[in-house]
């Protein structure tokens, strides 16, 4: 169970001698169990905000609190460990490891947790069953369709039972039918498994499936 609090966050990237402000004093509260869709034009700071919530980037100023963890206070190693337990990440291009089978890809986050090989296997199988790919455990990413790959990626994201799922354009590379299946899955994870979900999307159809839609423009939330 985790809520997300973003407090007066600024993020500025330095490209050579040029400072590029991306987020400009953004404040946001996403309650525990919410499903929020982040929309906005390219360069508005959606992915940056997602990365800050996921702890793979740090704000220039301000604070990000997920559950009871103030991410700014965590050292890199602690942050990595925290991420492995509390965050599930879903990418637009799935980002599966091509030399690992579906089952092995899903087992990856569990390598960071102390558990027996059998337990790891069982949990990965459960996660794959959950996304409807229980019969594809031995398949490699190249043997799966885009939609199936994304479902494996979702299984990987939920296998360690994180409280928060961050999805960066999860349907951006899929056809409508596959996209709907993925969105159904995310809705189910939110409603049935009480996951807090933050999804970046350009697609209004995808955003409709969220409980609420947030619009970002030039680094600030717009009404």
């Amino acid at each position: 169970m985790a809520s997300v609090d973003v407090n007066n966050v600024r993020k500025t990237y330095q490209r050579d001698s040029q400072a590029i402000p991306v987020l400009d004093g953004l404040t946001l509260h996403i309650p525990d169990g919410d499903f929020a869709a982040l929309m906005g034009p390219s360069g508005s700071g959606k992915t940056t905000l997602l990365n800050l919530i996921g702890g793979i980037d740090r704000p220039t100023s301000g604070s990000v609190i997920v559950g009871d963890a103030n991410l700014a206070a965590l050292k890199p190693k602690q942050l990595a460990r925290w991420r492995s337990r509390h965050i599930g990440y879903i990418f637009q291009l799935y980002n599966l490891i091509p030399v690992l089978s579906a089952q092995e890809n899903v087992e990856l986050p569990l390598l960071l947790v102390k558990m027996s090989g059998k337990e790891r296997k069982d949990r990965a199988k459960f996660a794959l069953d959950l996304v409807g790919l229980g019969d594809r455990v031995k398949h490699y990413p190249r043997q799966l369709s885009g939609g199936q790959e994304q479902r494996v990626a979702i299984a990987r994201a939920v296998v360690s039972d994180p409280a928060v799922l961050l999805a960066d354009e999860p349907t951006g590379d899929l056809d409508r039918k596959s996209a709907d299946e993925i969105l159904d899955l995310l809705v189910r994870l939110n409603q049935e498994f009480k996951k807090t979900i933050v999804m970046v999307t350009h697609d209004p159809h995808a955003a409709e499936r969220a409980r609420r839609v947030l619009h970002l423009e030039k680094g600030v939330l717009s009404a």
Partner: protein, 398 residues
Amino acid sequence: MHLTSLILANLGRNKVRTLLTLLSVGIALFLFCALRGVLDTLQSSVRVSSETRLVTRNAISLIFPLPLAYRDRIAGVPGVKKVSYANWFGGRNAADPSDFYAQFAVDSPTYFPLYRSDVEVVAAGRPQGAGAVPEGNDPKLAAFFEDRTGWVVGQALFVKHKWKIGQQVHLAGTIFPGDWPFTIQAVYHAKNPAFGEDNLLFHWKYLDEKGMGGRGQVGWYVLGLDHPGQAGPVIQAIDGIYENSAAATRTETERAFQAGFVSMYGNIPFLIGLIGLAVVLSMLGVAANTMMMAIRERTGELAVLKTLGFTDGTVFGIVLAEALLITGIGGTAGALLAKFMIEGTRFNAGGFLPPMTVTWETVALGVAIALAMGIVSGLVPAIRASRLAVVDALRRVE
């Protein structure tokens, strides 16, 4: 699945590249160990030579002889227990001139007792007469002592030529011209590898009578001492006696004599070492480049691993382990291949050296070098991977 499975899966990602890298590291370490094996062989010929036997030779060079007349005076030097002598023969197999092996004419009655602990007679002809042998000799050499043209042959040489006891073999003399018929009368096994099993020994008297017209020229003397500690005074005494004679002597321990023989190779050992090092260094560059390429191609995947919660240290370990695994497997295979292949050939430079050897120390050094190659070649990619900024790397992928 374990982390090891992930590392192994990564190695199988580009099988041809992994195989070629394994192969190049393996060949480099094979060459390194093989070249070092030459040094091992040279060193072993020195190391296993005796410190308790002395060798007296002409002070100018080994190729100049000494008079046989020195024998009695040398034997009279306090501390000297036994004296024997030998000559290099240098004949060619009359049937096959390219078939060369070391041949020595030795004063048989005194020579074999000096090397009793180094060689063992394993096969011998049956004596025709009473079968008496000079004191201190193996009774199995009776037929050899009865036969003026008798041969005692090393086991390896005997097996290689498929000779039989009692068989006659002809040599064509080069230093001592003419046709030299010999009869194989005994076969020895070298308990001390330095003695070698590719040598052939025959009666010095036969050489003196047929080849030197009874002039009594000796290639070198071999001396047995009462106590090893007497080597210093004995050396001083012998060389002092002949200091101002026409044929001055140089006396040294058998080990020093062998070392002097090895030093005739000049800087070859140094060059061999240098070539081995150059091979390893060039392969280090290849391995490092391969690792850099492999990691660069996987920047996105490494970023994903970090996003999943893999720490910088774990990513560092994965990349370094891959490099270590490649160089470790390739290097170990190359080093072991060098040991078994080279020792299998039993090459001994025509009896000049003990059979070629690649010591386990060299194999261990080869494996250690391979692992060091792994660390050096994997270190930079591993550091880069561990320091990878996830956001930048993901942006490149997405």
